[in-house]
């Protein structure tokens, strides 16, 4: 997409990049910037001192050396620019994580050129915090994949922040960089609360007393695996011990309903969401059939694998302001 002159010269591009786009993004001339590094400025000061010495002492070889180094830095500038130019950047799908954990965003760098790109650094542009950088070499006519770390700070669905690709190769005197912002969103689940017992109602307590006839999801025993058994019911532990494939059998013919209810929690919105998240995880681990009741929506009882994902997503996206 050609840019108008006004757009081309706009400082916004220089500071923020091009805006969200769909990958793969090729780093063309118009989005690769280059400026001297601190080391480069220091080098320039030393070159100036060298020039003054050469003039003062009429040292012709001093001039020659000064000019050689100046020329070297100009050539290095071109090489630094080329080290980034033409790279193709793309991202892969990101698995949701819990708040407080670190997202690993899979970024692939493809190098269509015949020379290796050395020491390309990538990081997410984050306000305040020192960004975690990943350094990699991209082989000629090849690609490289990196998991770019992004700390998950707030729950919810967020746009992926800008990625800065930068390089100072080969002399460290110049830094070429480019911003890439992908039109992608990442989902961050609420932070699970510390281990808290699941909500107990009368049915549950009856369960504990050992009423096998009613406790539908209670573990009853193992039987030989038969094709068609749900993978969630396969008893992996015996398989791991090398004792063969078994399927867990559960007693009762009716599943116990466990409702994880917003009303059963107390405290601020985030504390409640944290607790519900913990319960969803625990209930899922224990293979209960569970449902989730939030002020604005209700997820029916289920125990298929998608239930956990569904519940966590609902908790991640819960809008506190909309609730009564």
């Amino acid at each position: 997409m050609p840019l108008t002159l006004r757009q081309r010269l706009s400082p916004v591009r220089f500071l923020r990049g091009e805006g969200p786009e769909v990958g793969p993004v090729e780093l063309r001339q118009r989005r690769v910037f280059i400026l001297p590094t601190c080391q480069g400025l220091l080098f320039a000061v030393i070159l100036l001192l060298m020039l003054i010495s050469s003039i003062n002492y009429d040292a012709s070889l001093g001039y020659a050396l000064t000019f050689l180094l100046a020329a070297l830095s100009v050539v290095a500038m071109l090489h630094t620019y080329r080290n980034l130019l033409g790279l193709r950047v793309d991202i892969g799908p990101t698995e949701p994580v819990f708040c407080g954990e670190t997202l690993r965003v899979p970024v692939t760098l493809e190098n269509p050129a015949g020379q290796t790109r050395f020491a390309v650094s990538l990081h997410f542009v984050e306000p305040k915090a020192e960004p975690a950088k990943v350094l990699c070499d991209v082989p000629a006519n090849g690609w490289v994949g990196v998991g770019l770390p992004l700390p998950a700070k707030r729950r919810g669905r967020h746009a992926l922040p800008r990625i800065t690709l930068a390089t100072v190769f080969p002399l460290g005197l110049f830094r070429a960089w480019a911003y890439v912002e992908f039109d992608a969103r990442v989902l961050i689940y609420p932070r699970p609360a510390r281990a808290t017992p699941l909500p107990r109602d009368s049915a549950w307590q009856a369960d504990l007393s050992g009423d096998l006839g009613q406790g539908a999801d209670d573990f009853a025993g193992l039987r030989n695996y038969q094709p068609g058994d749900a993978p969630g019911h396969v008893h992996w532990k015996t398989l791991a011990r090398g004792q063969g494939l078994y399927t867990k059998q559960f007693g009762g013919d009716r599943a116990e309903e466990l409702w994880l209810d917003w009303q059963a929690t107390a405290g601020g919105i985030e504390a409640r969401l944290s607790l519900l998240t913990r319960w969803v995880l625990d209930a899922d681990m224990a293979h209960y059939r569970y449902g989730l009741r939030l002020p604005d929506q209700t997820l029916p009882l289920a125990h298929e694998p998608q239930q956990r994902r569904r519940c966590l997503k609902a908790l991640a996206l819960f809008n506190g302001a909309a609730s009564p």
Partner: protein, 664 residues
Amino acid sequence: MEHLRQALAWRWRQVERPQLWLLAGLALALLPHVGRLPWLLILPAVLLLGWRLGFELKLLRLPPQTLRWLLVGLALAATWASYHTFIGRQAGVALLVIMLCLKLMEMDKPRDVAIVIGLSYFVVITVFLFDQSLLMGGYMLLVVTLLTTALTAFSRVSATVPESANLRLTATLLAQAVPLALLLFMLFPRIPGPLWHLPSDAGSAGTGLSDTMSPGNISRLSDNDAVAFRVRFAGEIPPQDKLYWRGLALTHFDGRTWHNPNEARRGHGVSHSVDYSAIGEPVSYTLTLEPHQRHWLFALDMPASAPLGSIVSADGEIIARNSVKTLRRYTLRSYTDYRLDAVSAPRDFAYLRLPPDTAPRARILAQQLRAEASDDADYLQRVLDFIRQQPFYYTRRPPLLLDDPVDGFLFDSRRGFCEHYASAFTVLMRAAGLPARVMTGYQGGEDNPLGDYFIVRQSDAHAWSEVWLRGRGWVRVDPTAVIPPGRIENPADLARIDPAYAARTREAPDWAKRLWRKVGFGWDRVNNTWNQWIIGYDQGAQRTFLSRLGLENVDWQRMVGLLFGGLALVVAVIALQLFRRRPVRRDAVGEAYARFCRKLARRGLPRKPAEGAQDYSQRVIPRRPELAAQIQHITLLYQRLRYARTTPRDGLRHLRQAVRRFRP
């Protein structure tokens, strides 16, 4: 012993290579300074370098902060103790070197590394302040390569790249930088320095001719073959006996030493107008003077004017405003026949003064000869006859004269070289009331048969006299020249004093000596070219160069325009070469693999349309077991190039190579 060797080898492999490049570059950059700086500073510098190397080998720890500051204090003290100043060339270099080595003790961040490498480049330039020879230039190019390789190695992260790759990269960068540097060198407007007055170096001895002369002390110049200056004549070369290169006039004699108290010698003073009239044709020449750290310049007796940036003293010497610290080139016109101060007798009685108690016998001789002579010119001739007729010998190793050096030489030893003759002759002149002074400089020189220029060496240093005669002014008299060849001890001196003898002997040496001489002349010619084109490239040379390109009278604005235009052009060419999009074959890996399949198909083993690479190789290998290794290798490479998370380095090249070598 073996154990120790292995342990060291292991530690050696642990050293980070970038650090090694840096330390090697720095050590080699410091090497030329070793003879120049006092041991008080060189020794700590070497120890600090060693300390850093020990740290890199994980044998030593770096000093703590307090010790570092203590070392800085000690370094300052040592510099002060050596020079009593921190500014000036010598002291400044010493301070730079020692502080740079101290910086090695706290070099852990990239910023520190950048400072150390930048200052190491600066050390290279300080070497050029002392020595700009061709060999030093070449050596320093090596140092710059090492330092730049350190920069590339530090900026490259993956340790898997072999070190030769860093060196190759540096070579590429330097090769691309050279055209730009050349353009800058040629077109960057040269500013005649210095920008500010340079403090003169404390304790730096000059080379070459001294500004005092003590006959009776052994001359240190006679055996020195170093080049004093080179001359390129515009026209015909004057005969050898006219080649007197005038240097200094020594007017004051204290009985043992000749000197000149004239303050103009320090470079400040006004130009004196000398009453001078030329006779005959002028000789034009360009003289390239090797740096000798003093203020005086040399010119063929007698120059018509002083070159830019210099003055003419009352004694007709040429004194430069700034001491000759680097190669200095000037073009002059001289008249070998001239009249100097012919009209009025010199007013300065210094030319007549002799210390009261010196040379009593010489004074008697002078009075005798003057009484016999009809006039001053006749007296002068009689003194020369005295030297010719009496058994005076020319020797480089005269006996030491302890009493009165003039009387001792004239009447007892009668052995000496130019300084003795010039001194005694001048004393005899003054004793008879003739104004006279000693001139020092060079005599003769050697034509380089492999180049169109003359070489004047330190061994050509010479002393002669100038006598003022009524009606003729100052007349040059060389008393050494009247000694008959039979009384010259050394054939080399004979060749120098008697050109005819030199011509006879030149053919004589055997072929090895001839070859050696030829090599010497060849090397000198290379050096001269280096001097003329690189070292002596100044404002004047720049103008000449541009006018040869057809650009007459280029002012500096146009030069800057030319420079930037040229730079832009060269940068564009380099960029074009770097950024050119090479036509990329979309599927080079697939093509290479297809070629492999075609080769097998020709042997009756075509790949089925739906067959994967793995299945294909498993089907083919049992049929051609002798090719198993090759087929497996190619299949594995292909799979890795296609499906691996990270492409193997040089994988495509290896695949192509393997397919090319595959001959089923």
